[in-house]
């Protein structure tokens, strides 16, 4: 697949574009603005950008206060630091009363690569999903990220966005203008099995579907960028219509998209589900490609899981 920009780059671009039309939008970062790309906003709107230094807990609290003061703050850092160091603040200062504050964790997953475990945010989706009232979005490519940032800005309430470090395969070559929170996108239709994916794994799922098609298997691909709220209808329909599911995510096994899909399926349409994730383990240093291969997050892993799911029908 054609590689587009990294979703973090699209995040920064979207903020810079929104800044002109939303005067109440303010941006915070924790000394990683060149990496999270929030610098793109800072360069255009220096008076509305706050570099809070390497102090994530304080940054989350300040974002809550800015929201209480009528601003629409977007605060970013690496997913691992933002969510893990800021979690109590996300819970008390933001989620408890539903402050209108937005957070973007970048360099999520193991595709950050060589930096290793300390920088690899692999629990962030699970943790964010436990925050009551939070919307959790994991866009698949640059186009979807731009639309998701806009949707987050216009949504009243807390939002967590997940962005990646590497260039992401283009899932929406024709662009994506509107992101609807709570709606999945069928990016490829199929009847034998459905692959539900988010983030970097959506591109891999499309590759897997292509490979499966060559073997006579028709796979549907649901891009579930809106992890919370989950598009339960799309999941139930996929279960009913294709009878077998695969959930693919760049995350630990527990608490992420796979867990949420499993709850929906178990409650409504119990069909076989196979899970493609990195298991419950910490990764290591390596190139993104090496890590994705070693930890089971490739198109081939997804295709193999699809066959296992179909065999259990």
């Amino acid at each position: 697949m054609q590689l587009g920009k990294a979703t973090r780059e699209a995040y920064g671009e979207a903020l810079a574009a929104l800044g002109a039309e939303m005067p109440e939008l303010v941006v915070l970062d924790a000394d990683l603005s060149k990496s999270t790309m929030s610098k793109k906003f800072a360069d255009k709107f220096p008076d509305r950008f706050f570099n809070m230094g390497i102090a994530e807990a304080n940054m989350v609290g300040v974002a809550a206060g800015l929201a209480a003061g009528g601003k629409i703050p977007f605060a970013s850092s690496f997913a691992s630091f933002l969510i893990c160091k800021g979690f109590d603040q996300l819970r008390m200062a933001v989620a408890y009363q539903g402050e209108n504050a937005k957070f973007c964790g970048t360099h999520a997953g193991i595709s950050i690569g060589e930096d290793g475990v300390s920088q690899q945010g692999i629990e962030d989706v699970a943790l964010a999903c436990t925050l009551n009232g939070f919307v959790v979005l994991v866009p698949a490519d640059e186009h979807e990220m731009r639309a998701a940032v806009r949707a987050a800005a216009h949504h009243h309430g807390p939002v967590y966005l997940r962005a990646g470090r590497p260039k992401a395969p283009v899932v929406y070559p024709g662009g994506k203008d509107v992101f609807t929170i709570g709606k999945a996108d069928t990016v490829r239709d199929g009847k034998d099995v459905t692959i539900i994916a988010c983030g970097l794994m959506t591109g891999a799922a499309l590759e897997a579907a292509e490979a499966l098609a060559a073997q006579g298997i028709s796979a549907r691909v649901l891009n579930m960028a809106s992890v919370k709220p989950l598009d339960d209808d799309a999941v139930r329909n996929a279960a009913r219509q294709t009878g077998a599911l695969v959930v693919a995510e760049e995350h630990i096994a527990h608490g992420g998209l796979g867990s949420l899909v499993a709850m929906t399926v178990a409650a409504a349409v119990p069909v076989p589900v196979e899970f493609v994730n990195m298991g419950n383990r910490y990764a290591e240093s390596g190139t993104p490609e090496e890590l994705l291969a070693k930890y089971g997050l490739t198109a081939a892993d997804i295709a193999a899981a699809a066959k296992r799911a179909m065999a259990r029908k």
Partner: protein, 277 residues
């Protein structure tokens, strides 16, 4: 429209502080749980804020965008704040006795979700000052002249986030932000100097770039003067280091950290109220 509350005489304010203390003891007794010590140490500070003309606020317009903000970051001391809000007319005084009861907006720790006039939900210590910085920044962005006050406990200041916030407020020269440190020298398990001694307290705030004002936190005239002083400071946030006594006002609670988080028995309540009458 939010305006400074009408100026009252020192005698009236002293009476009010006693009345707030009575409320606190009765509320916590009725709730059968709560934290009297840290509420009682803050009685004069809260009285000065809400009744001494320090805070610009209006019970008839609690969401006025120009109101001054007050955050009780040491959330366990919220009974003294509830008492002041009730006496000021934000809700009926009778409601105070619903503290910590199922369905009451008077949650055990401040909940903006249950009571929107709380400017922040607190109780997980260390968080209020950061939220206060956000409000102070929002005011600066809007060119608004409301001020933000955050009460922090000295035990609470053992939390690292307080010092992240301290650096941050000074770096941003937030002279519309006042941290009120209730320096009562006690925490749950004992005296602060025996648990995590972080003396010299005023020097640390000064070293972090704050304008420090030390005051006897039970001397209402001095407290009012200190708040007035704080309003004249420019270019720096102000830390009002208020020397207080935990449990002040009730002889058997004063200075005794056993009363950090214990409800009085009905007999102890009667004895306390008698002393405060």
């Amino acid at each position: 429209m939010s305006v400074p509350s009408p100026v009252r005489s020192l005698d009236e304010l002293r009476c009010l502080a006693k009345r707030l203390r009575c409320h606190v003891v009765r509320m916590i007794t009725a709730a059968k749980s709560g934290h009297p010590g840290g509420s009682l140490s803050a009685a004069e500070l809260i009285t000065a804020l809400y009744f001494g003309g320090v805070l610009r606020h209006d019970p008839a317009a609690p969401r006025d965008p120009n109101r001054d903000r007050f955050i009780m970051s040491k959330g366990h001391a919220v009974p003294i704040l509830y008492a002041a809000l009730a006496e000021a007319g934000y809700f009926p005084v009778e409601q105070l006795l619903t503290l910590r009861k199922l369905g009451s907006p008077l949650q055990g720790h401040p909940s903006k979700a249950d009571m929107p006039i709380m400017e922040a939900s607190t109780g997980s210590l260390g968080q209020g000052l950061s939220v206060g910085i956000g409000l102070a920044l929002a005011a600066k962005l809007d060119g608004a002249d409301y001020r933000t006050y955050v009460m922090v406990g000295d035990g609470e200041a053992e939390e690292g986030q307080v010092w992240e916030a301290a650096m941050s407020a000074a770096a941003r020269k937030l002279d519309n932000l006042v941290c009120i440190l209730d320096y009562n020298k006690c925490q749950l398990d004992g005296p602060i100097c025996e648990i995590l001694n972080w003396e010299p307290v005023p020097d640390k705030w000064a070293a972090f770039g704050w304008h420090v004002i030390e005051v006897d936190g039970h001397d209402l005239a001095a407290v009012l003067a200190a708040f007035a002083d704080a309003k004249t400071v420019t270019g720096k946030p102000v830390c009002l280091v208020a020397h207080t006594v935990k449990g002040e006002g009730v002889s058997f609670m004063a200075g005794n950290n056993e009363w950090h988080g214990k409800a009085p028995t009905p007999e102890e309540c009667a004895a306390a109220v008698c002393e405060l009458a």
